[in-house]
Amino acid sequence: MASYSVGVDVGGTFTDIVLLGSEGTIHTKKISSSVENYAQAIVEGLAEVFRETGLGGDAIEEIRHGTTVASNAILEHKGARTGLITSMGFRDVLEIRTLRMPRMYDIAWSKPAPLVERYLRRVVDERIDAVGAVQRALDPRDAERAVDALLAEQVEAIAVCLLHSFTNPAHELLLKKIIEKKAPALPCSLSCEVLPEIKEYERTSTTVLNAYVTPIVASYLKALRKGLDNAGVRARLLLMQSNGGLTTDAAAAERPIHIIESGPAGGVVGAQVLARAKHLPKIITFDMGGTTAKASVVEDGEVTRAHEYSVGAGIMIGSRLLSGAGYTLKVPAIDLAEVGAGGGSLVWIDAAGALQIGPQSAGASPGPVCYDKGGETATVTDANLLLGYINPAHLVGGAVKLNAEKARRVFAETVAAPLGMALDQAAYGAHLIAASNMIRAIKSVSTERGRDPREFALFAFGGNGPVFACGMAAALGMKRVVVPPCAGLFSSFGLLYADVEHHYSRTFRRLLRQSDPHEIARAWDALAKQALDQLAVEGFTGKRAHLRRSAALHYHGQTYELTVPLPDGPMDLNYLEEAFGREHEKTYGHRAGEDEPVELVTIQVVGQGLHEGTNVPQRVRPSRPEPAPPPPRRAYFGAQIGWLETPVLRRSDLSTPRAGPLIVEEYDATCVIPPGAKAELDTGGNILIELG
């Protein structure tokens, strides 16, 4: 009998469920999220899937879950009432932040409110110096006073971050002991455990965020487990982490800091696995939904990760040069560049008469004009409709009816007329400018990192990704586009391909040339042991527990690091130095002379729990029959080509190669293939498009 695994991605509007059988059948379900209790929609959605497929809870082997429950708690300030204990003199590190603001000349800027107000921040009289020596010992009575004060304020979680605790955790551990004694059930996050790395603001912020979301994540996971148990689903529950690896529900409840950006990670990981299977060494993923578009790079089968990011900064940042928005989190996360461009992005004309797109969005309500739900401002989706790219009558298999006439009228009056352009040209212009905004996201993960996009394939998903993909690829000189199965709910689908993964890091500053390789190797071994212990708890041992080591380095005196992988085997510091030099040259086009010393800053270990065999079926088949193909329609491809009669296909129609112009219409996404391009289906069910 076939076994099944389930991918569930919960977003603000929709909960997407994908059921994959070991023999390759796919069953998908899109239902409204239950905002009050996200777990409820999952359980109800699964019940519907069981009804439709005739399966029972015992057929499910594993549930893989991407969730925004932690990030929502932060964005909506609904986390725990948290107390913070810091070193005396440094009570305000959390609130002073780095001083920087994300917008220039903005007199109306408000800093994000600190997640722990000042009266809930207490100090203890202690000091550990830069090399880890105790300069002023922590008096247990002083520590007790600080803890008592917070307990009197009825905090629901406590974070502790003392200066230099990453070199000597003694004082933080003493505080933990006292907290455990006085309030055994209270969640407590120590900075030396959450993030043993240098830089007090980043470490404090990360530790506070962990404490802040612990109660809400723990109770959510408990409720979900209970709901699944009641529904007869005994399968284990794995959570997607921001870094692209899965973790168990128990580990996620302990260190929820790793599942903050759980949502968008699934799609990138799915793309990574498909790219490996197709032997595509270089892809750029492009995920476009209703309000934002995200890009990331997968190179040689590996996703790229950022080691620090801000929760809730998102599209607030006009430029990657500016920081200071949102809440800083220093844990590895898939490096996504995000721009405020989606199907709902507004189309408008600025004071100097230029056509602009977003970042304001019509959102789900009122939505684009063509949804006819009260939206009166033209959007990118309206432009796509007027160009014939999306079905003029309905979307999502008929669930959303569209009013093309209204879109036409509003677009003509508010965009085309002021520009003095024909309607089709104005709509095409809006489409191109939206694409050019999104190209900036792609450039920021490629050219700005020294990578040439022409060497990459564009891997497009999200409801709107495949509408734009070919045009954007052409503009960037990219030759190939891949549109995976279930493109519209690929974030859920991708969950099915992920592995269990845990990241550990520690600050370990040493000049390479003056270091003892054995000492460095021992430090790495300690991290490796942590990783192996955690994997063993989850049942991954022997060959199924895989370790990867890497190092963050810079030239002595630089303030920004580059990360390079470390091969297995004995520690070779010369190799490390050379690998760093090469990476510096690759990324920035230059490297320093021989005499400039390279400094090791952070050591990192990733522990992976591997599946037996592959978890990717050779071929996937949708369980739902495809509808009858819609009639061809006219689509606009720019002033030079103009309007063309364009066949509208189902995905399966591409099992024999076809030449553009073509439109592939599916339940969850639409793909536009321009004239001059060729498209066909591969054995894995992906649409492969070669641009002319």
Binding site: S110, R118, A351, R440, H590
Partner: protein
């Protein structure tokens, strides 16, 4: 012109400027450069007119055009492919000596089409004090290596003589060369990407679009200016002194003349240039003026020549806003920040409900330098600021960079790892923010303990005698403070000084509090209670400034009503004062008196 094609071009050219800035950011050696974002990158047309700036520091808007003018003046007819120019001379297009400009002309088939431009603040360029930013030098010759506009590369060949001169005259050549490499890498990236644009658009179309990018910014700026009232407004503020002539205040005076889509910012009336090193250059004064005006314009106007066409800046030579040889100018940052605040004052007279009160005065500079036992030099340079003036709709920000710079603080732990310095405190100080319906930002203090045998401590601060002003009834913030060994001798130090510091000594700097906005008696009592609870405000000060009497964490309504009536009577305001430099009621220990200005110099008495 096709508006769509143009928009695409604009995205492309600004993304090159940003990409240059990111290259510098990621490869720099200098903390000043990375944490203070003290660098900029840009793109100019064949005539050196700024088309796009990858702006990281508002203080640099205006720098590239002035420097480009100087390059064009010297080399217009002596430029070849492969040339790279370098300069830092404040009296020939530069700003202050640590800011080194690197420019590369970009060619296609022998025709010059554009320039890639970078400017970076370097850790040290020599001179009498480590870090090359002492405020008490009295002539440019003491401040470090002065580089006239020169060719760093001549047709692709490195000028080794020049490199050797630089190497032998700066304290940390590895850092300086590392940062110069970052600048060259940014130019290199610009050149590569620009070639892509040439291939795509062709030279004629490219030139047309670059011109249109400038015109577009001008149209946006003028359209925004049109919406502001026409008229003339003046404002006066004072810098305490220049750190050489102690106690001799320096006058800043600005007049805004606005008509239609054009604004003149006229600094005539500003005091003569001074002996101390706080003389600004015209380019920097322009940047301060643009920053003020842009804060009341909508977001999103591109940074280029077009903006400068709509905003004209005048500042007579020989003033502290436009120093001439041999003016020392290393610490001119102070003057730029304060000119920005002066702009806010004038704009507040023009637009009462749009502009903030004075903040802490911009950044305080602290540098500690010397040699360790092995004669290895160390240089620690810290700039810090953090309290915004109150706004007509909200409190001033607590712990946020001044708008003229977008700087970040260094990590305490990293500094302690790399420098012979230990921090004893970095935290907010209560009771220093100016009261108001919306209060000023709360300042912080920084306590530095010195760990080497001996070093030179040099400090540039201000807002000691001339406090950050409050607006429309808001009180001014409390002055800045400097102390030596606060837990021992606790000696008060002047606002600007250079001294020898020994192992174990502690220097404490407390920022000035920011000015408030609106009548403090109109402040929401819940906001006052919150500030008391968070220990930003003591109960005594809540009663004194806001008339809010707190007993056991609760407001006592009766006592509060009585206290407020007393304050009202004692103030005797007929209408709220537009501007306050002193507390509305005398303090028990102080000798402050009230004076009010309508924004005209004649009304102001300087103590």
């Amino acid at each position: 012109m096709d508006p769509i094609e143009f928009e695409l071009f604009k995205n492309a050219i600004f993304s090159i400027a940003d990409e240059m800035a990111l290259t510098v950011f990621r490869t720099t050696y200098s903390g000043v450069l990375k944490d203070n974002m003290d660098y900029s990158t840009g793109f100019a047309d064949a005539e050196g007119k700024l088309v796009a700036q990858g702006l990281t520091l508002p203080g640099h808007l205006g720098s590239v055009p002035t420097a480009m003018q100087s390059i064009m003046h010297h080399y217009r007819d002596d430029m070849q492919p492969g040339d790279v120019f370098i300069m830092n001379d404040p009296f020939d297009g530069g700003m202050h000596l640590p800011d080194i400009f690197v420019f590369k002309p970009l060619y296609h088939e022998g025709e010059r089409l554009a320039f890639a431009c970078t400017v970076c603040h370097h850790t040290d360029v020599g001179g009498r004090v480590a870090g090359s930013n002492a405020s008490d030098s009295t002539e440019i010759y003491a401040e470090g290596l002065r580089i006239a506009p020169l060719k760093l590369y001549d047709r692709g060949v490195l000028n080794k003589t020049l490199m050797t001169i630089i190497e032998k005259n700066v304290r940390l050549p590895v850092q300086v060369f590392g940062d110069l490499r970052a600048q060259l890498a940014a130019c290199h990236i610009a050149e590569k990407q620009f070639a892509g644009l040439v291939a795509k658009y062709g030279t004629e179309q490219l030139k047309l679009y670059m011109r249109e990018t400038i015109d577009y910014a001008e149209r946006l700026t003028r359209a925004a200016l049109e919406k502001l009232p026409d008229g003339e407004w003046s404002f006066e503020d004072w810098i305490d002194d220049d750190g050489v002539d102690y106690g001799k205040p320096i006058r800043l005076f600005v007049t805004l003349r606005k008509k239609g889509g054009h604004m003149v910012v006229d600094w005539t009336g500003t005091g003569p240039q001074v002996k101390g090193a706080i003389n600004s250059t015209l380019s920097y004064t322009k940047a301060a003026s643009y920053t003020g005006v842009r804060s009341v314009l909508p977001q999103g106007i591109p940074n280029n020549e077009g903006v400068f066409r709509a905003i004209e800046v005048i500042c007579p030579p020989g003033t502290v806003g436009n120093g001439v040889l041999p003016a020392a100018c290393a610490a001119r940052g102070l003057t730029g920040f304060r000119m920005t605040d002066c702009m806010f004052g004038a704009l507040a007279m023009m637009l009462p409900d749009k502009v903030k009160a004075a903040g802490d005065g911009g950044n305080t500079g602290v540098s500690i330098g010397g040699y360790d036992a092995g004669r290895k030099p160390f240089i620690y340079v810290d700039f810090t600021c953090g309290a915004w003036g109150a706004r007509p709709w909200a409190d001033g920000l607590d712990g946020n960079s001044h708008m003229f710079a977008n700087m970040a603080s260094h990590s305490v732990e990293v500094t302690e790892t790399e420098q012979p310095i230990q921090f004893l405190a970095y935290e907010f100080v209560p009771d220093k923010a100016g009261a108001g319906k919306y209060r000023g930002g709360v300042p912080f203090r920084r306590d530095y303990r010195f760990l080497e045998e001996e070093g030179v401590l040099q400090v540039r601060s201000d807002r000691r005698t001339h406090r950050p002003f409050g607006l429309y009834g808001g009180s001014p913030g409390m002055p800045s403070e400097n102390y030596l060994d606060p837990d021992g001798e606790n000696r008060t130090l002047p606002s600007k000084f250079t001294m020898t510091i020994k192992r174990g000594q502690v220097f404490r700097h407390v920022l000035a509090g920011a000015g408030g906005w609106g009548d403090p008696l109109e402040r929401d009592p819940a906001a006052v209670l919150r500030d008391v609870r968070n220990e930003f405000l003591s109960p005594a000060k809540a009663a004194a400034d806001y008339g809010i009497v707190i007993i056991e964490n609760q407001m006592d309504p009766k006592a509060t009503a009585q206290r407020r009536a007393e304050i009202r009577a004692a103030r005797g305001w007929r209408e709220v004062p537009k501007l306050q430099w002193h507390d509305p009621l005398p303090r028990e220990t102080g000798t402050d008196h009230v004076f009010v200005s309508a924004g005209k110099a004649e009304n102001v008495v300087c103590p």
